[in-house]
């Protein structure tokens, strides 16, 4: 059952009977969380659930929607992700996907700490561990990032050597514009290097640093 339908059904039942069953109350707790992004807290008030239901219905009536998740990963309560050597501690919904993936790359069994996670989490981890090598066609300057279509081709030996040279220049503190000037006449695999092709090689050299 979807979010809006659940709200409608509980609201209709409440309108007819004036009471809320235990399961309705549990649903309201969940809906409150999905709507406002924070946990419903009872503080011995007699009408907490009714008030919460009214707030949710008003929110929907005003055109509000179920809140978007800040991350596809949601940690179970009672656990934190603390990576040795990393200061940040992740908990609850406050878990940026990139940090989670970095953690899972080291500790994949920690996926059991999450109550929600994307189906393709293993692929995300694999991608993190093995960054795609952009297919760089030095001759034309075309770069194709679609690895599935192109098989993530590696650089030709000449292009790889040029990346190494650029990397040395970067380490030496040379500015990018100077590097572009220096290598603009270069040929790779017999063909002149295009502006875009050179820019992509510089990017690769930066990553390799």
């Amino acid at each position: 059952m979807d979010y809006k339908q659940t709200v409608k059904e509980i609201g209709d039942r409440f309108d007819k009977t004036g009471t809320l069953s235990l399961s309705d109350k549990q649903s309201i707790e969940r809906l409150y969380y999905l709507t406002f992004g924070k946990y419903f807290t009872r503080t011995h008030c007699g009408d907490c659930y009714k008030d919460a239901l009214i707030m949710i219905r008003l929110h929907l009536k005003k055109g509000g929607k179920q809140m978007a998740k800040s991350s596809e990963f949601v940690l179970k309560r009672g656990v934190v992700l603390a990576t040795p050597g990393v200061a940040s501690v992740l908990s609850g919904r406050d878990v940026p996907a990139d940090l989670v993936v970095a953690h899972l790359a080291k500790f994949p069994n920690k996926i059991s700490y999450f109550e929600e996670y994307p189906d393709n989490w293993m692929k995300l981890v694999e991608d993190f561990k093995n960054p795609k090598v952009q297919k760089t066609e030095a001759k034309t300057g075309k770069v194709d990032t679609d690895d599935e279509a192109n098989g993530g081709d590696e650089l030709s030996p000449e292009a790889a050597e040029l990346v190494t040279l650029i990397s040395f220049d970067l380490k030496a503190g040379m500015l990018k514009k100077d590097i572009k000037e220096k290598y603009k006449e270069y040929k790779v695999d017999g063909d002149a290097l295009s502006v875009r092709g050179l820019a992509n090689l510089i990017k690769l050299a930066e990553k390799a640093e």
Partner: protein, 222 residues
């Protein structure tokens, strides 16, 4: 089969840098034992008296217990339970419910009467002056009931009680637990407090009881 634990391996002496402090802080967390994700509970590899992860099942939460006063959770402690072949421990958790109305009896007292629970309490004795960085604050949080479950052994109300003013006096007991004490600690006191707060749904760094705001979310009621 191993001979497990019939030895001691440490001097019995006073830690002058971390003098023992009596008592428990005012706020604890009680969890329905069936809501704990036992498959993923983790203990420290170095010390099995330390629980490093106490995950709850999806959608489940713990409930805060606030006991104001000079002696919060009075009656909390452990005693030896002698057995024929092996001695164990009985752990008790004392608390009061300073309210008495239909919601309290329905949502709290009736459940306490027959359920099994796990509690996490914050000790005043925290060991904050530990020289080993990874042990700083490692005695801050205690877990009671994780092994055998806490069950109610006292549930009484006295309308003329001087102490509870007509509220409920509660004692939960875990009987015959193999460990003398379990602590909750992961990496640092800050990280552990984050996990402790997360048990009842609070975000890191928030102290309000509304669950705290999570970045990226907007409260339309605000």
């Amino acid at each position: 089969m191993a001979y497990c634990d019939g030895i001691i391996s440490r001097d019995i002496e006073i830690d002058c840098d971390n003098l023992l402090q009596r008592g428990v802080e005012e706020i604890g967390v009680i969890i329905n034992r069936q809501d704990i994700d036992f498959d993923n509970v983790e203990y420290s590899a170095d010390n099995p008296s330390i629980v490093t992860a106490l995950p709850l099942k999806a959608g489940k939460r713990g409930y805060r217990v606030v006991i104001p006063g000079a002696n919060s959770f009075s009656g909390t402690g452990s005693t030896l339970a002698t057995g024929t072949y092996r001695n164990t421990f009985n752990h008790t958790l004392g608390m009061v419910v300073l309210a008495n109305d239909p919601d309290v009896t329905e949502d709290i007292i009736d459940g306490l009467a027959n359920g099994q629970f796990v509690a996490v309490i914050e000790n005043k004795n925290k060991n904050l002056n530990q020289t080993v960085a990874t042990k700083k604050g490692f005695s801050t949080f205690s877990i009671v009931g994780l092994q055998q479950g806490l069950r109610a052994t006292t549930l009484e109300e006295d309308r003329y009680s001087e102490e509870t003013d007509g509220g409920w006096n509660v004692v939960l007991t875990e009987t015959r637990a193999p460990k003398s004490g379990l602590f909750f600690f992961n990496t640092s006191i800050e990280a552990t407090r984050t996990a402790f707060n997360a048990l009842v749904g609070e975000s890191a760094g928030t102290e309000s009881g509304d669950g705290g705001d999570t970045p990226g979310w907007v409260d339309p009621s605000a």
